[in-house]
Symmetry: C2
DNA sequence: TTCATGTACAACCATTTGGTTGTACGTTAC
DNA sequence: GTAACGTACAACCAAATGGTTGTACATGAA
């Protein structure tokens, strides 16, 4: 299995994109079902252009993709990108687990 | 088990804090072993004050804590906060899994 | 006590962010 | 063909961001 190498800049963009509640909400909505930007914007108390901007941020972070259908742009999710963020958080947890094991080893040593 | 309720603002701060490569590196270093701000700053090509700022961002996101020891401030990790971010990413994947199950159910219906 | 070390804090800067209003263009419905 | 709908893009704004240099204070070593 070939794993795509993720750059720091890409990770920056993913976490930056998720650092806003509206954008997290957009991600979860399009995970349920892909939908137009207009449909998304009906859920938020802000201008359409603001929602567009949020979608653009998510797109640049590769968390969503856009598909033109007539005059509409449908927003689709990218679950694989979520997995990339998780991989990093899991790496942190593994560092911590190694530390816990080192401590256990020391405690188990003969005095 | 009581799970601490995480607000949107708190989640914003966690992801925002992780949206910078230096800060991610700081997190992983203090996961290995807690250390002073000066010790951390030796690893980065930027001013000490810049590293301080990064630590402050991590502290406000509850990803690290500081402990004064004499003239030093030791930076310690907070692995439970990483878990909070992971919980949210897992929630995204569960939404996706439910979607996959719904599709399977439809495909399994009698024609 | 003096000097070195480690840190806190302030002020500054260019850039980015999360919003706003407005204009223009393509598609769709009637 | 006309009007409505959906979107792209620009310009604007206040606040935040990721860095800089500088000053000041507390702790630790000699």
């Amino acid at each position: 299995m070939v794993v795509h190498e993720v750059t720091d800049a890409e990770i920056d963009r993913i976490f930056q994109a998720l650092a806003d509640a509206t954008r997290r909400d957009i991600v979860s909505r399009v995970l349920v079902v892909g939908q137009s930007v207009t449909s998304l914007s009906e859920h938020y108390d802000m201008s359409f252009a603001a929602v567009q901007k949020h979608v653009t941020v998510l797109e640049r972070a590769l968390l969503v993709t856009k598909e033109r259908r007539g005059r509409e742009q449908l927003v689709h999710s990218r679950i694989d990108t979520i997995g990339r963020a998780q991989t990093l958080l899991t790496a942190f947890e593994q560092i911590w687990a190694q530390r816990a094991r080192r401590i256990d080893d020391i405690l188990a040593e003969d005095p």
